[in-house]
Homo-oligomer: 191 residues x 2
Amino acid sequence: MKSLPLRKQIEEIVNLTDEEFAFVLEHFQQRIFKKHQIVIHEGDYAKYEFFVLKGLMKVSRLYSNGKEHILKFGIENWWVTDFEAFHRKTKSTLMVSCLEDTDTLAIDLENKEKLSRELPKMQSFFLTKTTDRYIALQKRILCFLSSNANDRYHNLLTIYPGLIQRVPKAMIASYLGVTRETLSRLTKADT
Amino acid sequence: MKSLPLRKQIEEIVNLTDEEFAFVLEHFQQRIFKKHQIVIHEGDYAKYEFFVLKGLMKVSRLYSNGKEHILKFGIENWWVTDFEAFHRKTKSTLMVSCLEDTDTLAIDLENKEKLSRELPKMQSFFLTKTTDRYIALQKRILCFLSSNANDRYHNLLTIYPGLIQRVPKAMIASYLGVTRETLSRLTKADT
């Protein structure tokens, strides 16, 4: 199992011995998905949280009028799931799908809780990652409040390096909450 | 020290003995603020995270053009600080102030980390609360993406019961990212 990126991310926060990392890995399973595959359908239980080793996932909400709002992209080293459905064991209100062939390490809630209990360092790691995610979302909220699409666009360039070359412009516009025309203006102003 | 609401909130997630709760409380100090008092100025270090026992706090960003964007209100039982500045020990980019006389229990980062280490149940509590916060912000992002001010308004009514009677309309509009006129339409449609 290609697990080095996971170890690297954990060790940015807490140190692990080889034995401890082997123990961590026992709680994960490798899951591989094809491009366009839907990993979690709306209405499904979200059994796993995925650590992206390679590939590109998308978390979005579909509306009855056919519109799709993109909440999040998951590139290499990101954690992806419907967090509410996963943590509260409720049915998913979001869709998780793959925009490229995607390799992941998947953990279910029971294993995440067991790991947190039996190796408190890992709980500390999960707490730090969740805090980081919360801080990142606060910044996105502030960008929305300032109604400044340019800020939102540059925020996206910062947090997802290289993404703009990997996904269709319509999806970038959906993530930013702007029209295609506004996005064209932003990308042109940037070149 | 009036600490019952804190114990109640912790025990919704993990059980504590009287001795354990006494140990938890040793890590907090009571901090009382007056209406209009600024608790964290932009540029300050955010030394404490506050649990609101009574009163009302506001977390906002001030812009050079005089505009204020409200990121969060903190009513009873909410946790308030500039989370980025607090957790990363950086200078605050937000302002935390009081809209009413406010009683809090305050914890600094060293004590929060010590408590998490020495009583892993508390780390579990902090992880659950941070996950809850993250899920709540995701919902707010989805409301922004749908550009539906009505959804945002009803989301606010749900997460802050009674708030609308406690703060000026201009602040509600700032939190929602709408004009005063739009807010008037929303509140009228709701009566």
